[in-house]
C-alpha cells in the first residue's frame, strides 16, 4: 500500500514539473516585462527580477498608442461577437427546430463554409473591401468574420436536444416564434450560448491574418498587429528593448487571460462537447 502511495506522490511531483515547464514561457513574459534593460541583457539570465521595475510599461505606453490598439480591438471584437451570435442563434433555430423545404441541403451549404478558411479567399475579399473603401476601417474588419459556421453547428446541436413540448407550451402561452427563440430556446441552452459567445470573443480578440491584410495605418491597428509592430519598430535593437516588448505582450494578453480564467468551465466543457459530437 505504501508503495502505491509513493508512486502516487512521485507521479504528482513529475506532473508538477511538467506543468512548470509548460507554463515557463508565460512566466518569462511577465518577469521580463519587469526587468531593466541592463538586467535583460545579462549573460546569465536572472529568474527573478532584481527590482520590480515599471519603466518598460511606462515607456511602451508613452511611445506607442497601445490604448488606441486596445480600443480598436474591443470595438471590432464586440462587433464580431454581436453579429456572429445573432446570426448564429437565428440560423441554428432555422436548421434545428425550423421547417422549410430544402433545409438539409441548405445546411450542407453552411457546413461547406466551415471548410473554406479566409486564408483561401482573402484576395477576392480584399478586392471587395477595398472597392467599398473599407480598408483600415472597423466595418472592413468586422464583416468578413461576422458569420461563423462553427457557432451555427454548435448551437444547432444544442437546440436539437431541447424537447419540442417546451416550444409547444410557449406557443400555447401566445409567444410568437421570434420571442420563443430568445425566451425559451436560448435560456434553455445557456451553457452552449455562453461558450459560443466567449469563443467568438477570444477568436475576435486574437484575429491576426485578416487585420494584417487590410490594416496599413497605425490608427487602425488592432492589438495583435500592434504589438508585433512595436517589436518590428525596434529592428536590430530588439533585445535592448525586450522588456518593453514583453510589457506590451502582457497588456495585450491580459483581457483574454482574465476571460479565460473566469469562464474556463464553459470553455473547457464546450470543447469536449465539440469533440464528442
Amino acid at each position: 500500500m505504501s508503495r502505491k502511495n509513493l508512486n502516487k506522490a512521485l507521479k504528482t511531483l513529475f506532473a508538477s514539473l511538467v506543468m512548470l515547464v509548460i507554463v515557463f514561457p508565460l512566466y518569462w513574459m511577465i518577469i521580463t516585462s519587469f526587468k531593466t534593460t541592463d538586467e535583460v541583457l545579462l549573460s546569465t539570465p536572472t529568474f527573478w527580477a532584481k527590482t520590480f521595475n515599471l519603466n518598460a510599461y511606462r515607456d511602451v505606453l508613452t511611445h506607442y498608442p497601445v490604448f488606441r490598439y486596445l480600443l480598436n480591438t474591443l470595438v471590432v471584437t464586440l462587433g464580431i461577437v454581436v453579429i456572429q451570435s445573432l446570426t448564429a442563434i437565428l440560423a441554428a433555430y432555422g436548421f434545428s427546430k425550423g421547417d422549410f423545404p430544402g433545409k438539409n441541403t441548405v445546411f450542407l451549404f453552411v457546413l461547406g463554409a466551415m471548410m473554406i478558411p479566409i486564408q483561401v479567399t482573402f484576395i477576392p475579399i480584399y478586392v471587395l473591401i477595398s472597392k467599398q473603401g473599407w480598408l483600415n476601417s472597423y466595418i472592413g474588419l468586422i464583416l468578413p468574420e461576422a458569420a461563423s459556421a462553427y457557432s451555427i453547428f454548435m448551437l444547432r446541436q444544442s437546440f436539437l436536444a431541447v424537447d419540442n413540448s417546451y416550444l409547444e407550451a410557449a406557443e400555447v402561452d401566445g409567444l410568437d416564434r421570434f420571442r420563443m427563440i430568445f425566451r425559451v430556446l436560448v435560456p434553455m441552452c445557456q451553457p452552449t450560448v455562453v461558450t459560443m459567445v466567449i469563443l467568438s470573443f477570444i477568436n475576435g480578440w486574437n484575429a491576426y491574418f485578416w487585420p494584417k491584410m487590410i490594416i496599413t495605418t497605425d490608427r487602425a491597428r488592432t492589438i495583435s498587429l500592434g504589438i508585433a509592430d512595436i517589436r518590428m519598430s525596434f529592428l536590430s535593437m530588439e533585445a535592448l528593448n525586450m522588456n518593453q516588448i514583453m510589457a506590451a505582450s502582457c497588456i495585450a494578453a491580459l483581457p483574454i487571460l482574465l476571460l479565460f480564467l473566469l469562464f474556463q468551465r464553459y470553455i473547457l466543457t464546450g470543447f469536449s462537447k465539440a469533440a464528442m459530437k
Binding site: 514561457p25 508565460l26 521580463t32 508585433a228 517589436r231 516588448i245 514583453m246 464528442m276
Partner: protein, 303 residues
C-alpha cells in the same frame, strides 16, 4: 374548410419565418465565402497586377507559370514546407496530448489547477506568445540557449539557421496546442468503460500497457478528430511565420499561405497569387474528401 386554409396559411408563414432566420447567415456566407471562391478562379485567369490600373484575361497563363514555368520551384518548395510543418505539428500535438492526458488523468484539486494551467497557452494572445518565443529563441540572450549551455551544448540558432527554423516553429505550435489535445483526450478517456481497464489490471497490465493496448485503440475516433482539425489549422499557418521568421531564413519557412500573401501584397501579382490560392483551395478540398471517406470506413465508433 376555412379552418384548413387558415392552418395552411399559418404553416406557410411559419416556413417563411424559419427560412428567413437562416438568411442573414447565408448572405454572409455567400458574400464572404462562396462568391470569393468564384472570384478567386476568375482573377487567376487575368493578368491583374495591383500596381497597374487595368487588367485583361489571359487564360491559363498563371497556371502555366505555376506548374510549368518559373513559379514551379517555389510552389513545390512551399508545398513541401507546409507538408513538413503540418506533419510535425500534428505528430507533436497528438503525442504530447496523449502523454499529458495519461499523466494528468487524476481528479484532485491540484491536478485540476494544473490542467487549466496547461491549457492556458492556447488561449493567450498568439502575438504575445509568439513574441515570448522569439525572446526565448534569441541567439545571444535567449533562455533556451542558456539552458543548453548548462549542459555544455549549443548555442543553437533557433530561428536564424536553415536547419532549425521550421523545427522551432513546430515546437512553438506544439507548445500552444498540446494542452488542448490533452483536454480532448481526457474527455474521451472518461468515456472508456471501466470494465476494459479493470480487466487489464486483473491480467497484470501496468499503466503504460494500459495506455498502449487498451486506451490508444479505443481512442481512435478522438485521434482522428484531432488529426483532421490540427491538419486543417496547421496547413493555413501564417501568424507564427509572420512574427517569428517572415518565411526565412532563405525561404526555409515559406509556407503556402505566406507565399500567396507575399505574391499578392509584396509583388502585387494578384493574378499569380490567386492561381496559387485556388490550387491551395483544391488541396484542402481533396484532403477533406479523403478524410471523410477514410474515416467512415476505418474507424469503429463502438467503444
Amino acid at each position: 374548410m376555412s379552418v384548413q386554409t387558415k392552418n395552411a396559411g399559418l404553416k406557410h408563414r411559419r416556413r417563411a419565418f424559419d427560412f428567413l432566420c437562416t438568411v442573414p447567415a447565408l448572405v454572409l456566407f455567400i458574400v464572404f465565402t462562396y462568391y470569393p471562391i468564384a472570384e478567386l478562379l476568375r482573377i487567376s485567369l487575368t493578368d491583374w497586377n495591383l500596381s497597374r490600373s487595368s487588367y485583361g484575361y489571359v487564360g491559363l497563363k498563371n497556371y502555366e507559370w505555376l506548374f510549368a514555368g518559373r513559379g514551379w520551384g517555389q510552389f513545390i518548395s512551399s508545398l513541401k514546407i507546409t507538408g513538413l510543418y503540418t506533419l510535425g505539428e500534428v505528430t507533436l500535438t497528438l503525442v504530447l496530448g496523449l502523454l499529458l492526458a495519461h499523466l494528468f488523468d487524476r481528479m484532485t484539486r491540484w491536478f485540476n489547477f494544473m490542467r487549466v494551467a496547461i491549457i492556458m497557452p492556447r488561449y493567450i494572445l498568439v502575438s504575445s506568445t509568439a513574441l515570448v518565443f522569439m525572446w526565448l529563441y534569441n541567439d545571444l540572450y535567449g533562455v533556451f540557449n542558456y539552458f543548453l549551455s548548462l549542459f555544455g551544448a549549443g548555442p543553437v540558432r533557433w530561428l536564424t539557421s536553415r536547419d532549425m527554423a521550421l523545427t522551432s516553429l513546430v515546437l512553438f505550435s506544439g507548445w500552444r496546442m498540446a494542452g488542448y489535445a490533452m483536454l480532448i483526450y481526457l474527455s474521451a478517456i472518461k468515456g472508456i468503460s471501466e470494465q476494459y481497464l479493470e480487466a487489464a489490471e486483473v491480467d497484470g497490465a501496468n499503466g503504460w500497457q494500459k495506455l498502449l493496448h487498451i486506451k490508444l485503440p479505443l481512442l481512435a475516433p478522438t485521434t482522428l478528430f484531432l488529426t483532421v482539425t490540427t491538419v486543417v489549422s496547421s496547413m493555413k499557418v501564417f501568424q507564427a511565420v509572420d512574427i517569428l521568421t517572415q518565411g526565412g531564413p532563405y525561404k526555409t519557412t515559406m509556407v503556402m499561405v505566406y507565399q500567396i500573401y507575399k505574391l499578392a501584397f509584396e509583388d502585387h501579382r494578384l493574378d499569380r497569387a490567386s492561381a496559387e490560392g485556388f490550387v491551395f483551395f483544391l488541396i484542402l478540398l481533396i484532403f477533406t474528401a479523403i478524410t471523410m471517406k477514410w474515416s467512415n470506413r476505418n474507424v469503429s465508433y463502438d467503444a
